[in-house]
Amino acid sequence: MELECRRASLHRPGEDLHKRDEPSLQEAINLKLVESGEKEKLKDLLRERLIECGWKDELKAQCRAFTRKRGRSNVTIDELVRAITPKGRALVPDDVKAELLQRIRTFLLSVQF
């Protein structure tokens, strides 16, 4: 699950390239999510929603189709992941995205940084 958020405007353009000692905003959020166990909960929620809306079945079908086309012994996990990931991302329903973003937002508001 990837967070898409803008880097804090603390950094001037050009300075982003260097690795800073302090974690970036994205990394800090991720750390917070992981430490509190919230990330695991969000992952579970996402899994549940994606099954409910049929996304998992759809992706399963796509994977099967891909594997069938290439031949079972000609496909590795990496190739499959690489081929299916863009489709999978595109097929996530908007309301699932919205719900998760809302949860993340709520969590961030409740947490001290």
Partner: protein, 572 residues
Amino acid sequence: MVTKSSSPCYRPCEHLVDYKSKHSTRGFRALQRCIVVLPPGRPSVRTLSCDEDPVPRCASCAKSHGRLYACLICSTISCYSSSSSHARSHALELPGHELAIDLDRAELFCCICNDQVYDADFDWVVVCAHASSLAKCTSFSNGRTAPPLNVYSRKRNRGAEYKPWEPSSKDPLVLERGAAPLGLRGLTNMGSTCFMNSVLQALLHTPPLRSYFLGHCHNKAACQSKVCLGCDMDDMFAAAFSGDRTPYSPAQFLYRRYLFLFSFLNSWWQHAANLAGYEQQDAHDFFISAVEGIHANSQQPELRKGNDAECRCIVHRVFSGLLRSDVTCTACGFTSTKNDPCVDISLDLESTALEKQIYASSSTLLGCLDRFTRPERLGSNERFFCESCQSRQEAVKQMSVRKLPVVLCFHVKRFEHSAKNYRKVDTYVQFPLSLNMACYLSSSIARLRHGNRLIFVEGKGELGGDNDSGSTSPSSEFELFAVVSHSGKLDGGHYVAYLRLGGEWYKCDDAWITRVGESVVRATQAYMLYYVQRSLSDESSTTIPERFNQHQTLVLDEKIGYTSLLADAVQA
């Protein structure tokens, strides 16, 4: 019990074979204690964690997201990505440590081959772990209780985890009350939309369609189209069978249909005229466009073929039959045969005085069918090109049913829109509740045409693979389940639907549904009749209509009379 031998198509990699030969199943069985089953039934590996750091991390780079693998030999956790694989480095450094287990998924992974590998004994361990963890837990391991599943809420029911159902205290009450039949719900008239409402009522109670949509075979959530009649049908079925008896507005269907008409028929005037005045449309036209629309939005494009006869989309599987047309040259007797798919059978009402003498009057459905399948002499200005004579000849044409659909829809042609005529035929048409189509099948018709010539034995010659339908075969018996009738004049008339449910008839007049007696239905001016194959009908009638059988015999005799005349004429 999982078989010890691996499937013949799968070959484990050399590293797995190596590992198995050295360690057999000891490593797997040790893992069994570590495998937990997280909701929704996903086996996963539980790692030892300390309080400061509850998450597993790669031993080399401390990464905690992405794919993590634990070595089967030394339990070292390493990360994997296609660009940098610490799991691979670990395996390269330490020979014998090639195999690892995916922490999130409990799958075996070979770090040298960079791919998942499979082993029956390992899978058996996972299954055992799964079973024992299920036995222990009573609620989800994260403490959440399952949300109640509302079967009819959008998007929340496809693929949901199975939960056993226990009847609640309300259920016996519902059964006892003898509630009105399921799925009976009025449809609001949105401005002369009775043409649509009546056909929709018939479709809502077409048994195979009902099963399809209530079974959520059209997955709305996964549907890619923005405009999808299939999704609208799904909505409508859900609404009709929701138990809510207040009238439902099939607004989406109406909107979509206009969009569909516009884009697929591309007829501006029709579109503009329709929208402008909400003019009364023809129910049969609507039925055809609805079928085409659902076909077009069928979610499995590989099932949709250009040829409707072979299309496996739900509407064609239900309504599509095959009509056969035989054109016989009067000079040499050569017959040219054509099979055309159809989703309904349109029947003419008019008959000449001569026809009235020979055939049962077309004021019955069977009479119309007789007329439909009778040999028809094509006029001298309609000569066809005979391949055997190599010249244009006068011909005789005969229609028959090559393949019966699951649901048979009859369209009684009451409306005439031609240049000279714009009128409605009000003739009353009598129709049976049970219908046997055996004598209208191509095999029956062909047999009658040629008598008992040996060259036309079953399976050979022009009969092809037709079933023996001289007798009443089960698939040619139909039961009536819906009638769409029209009352009033050509413009400004009104459509209602009659539905046969639970042995009773219900009149569906837009938003008003009333139970009516059979005599009311029999007296109505039928415009469209929907019959379903008896084996699928909810209402197989047990009485054999005596008069029906007699009528059938009478018709056959007359047919033989006419065709032997024809045979004489041909041989002359």
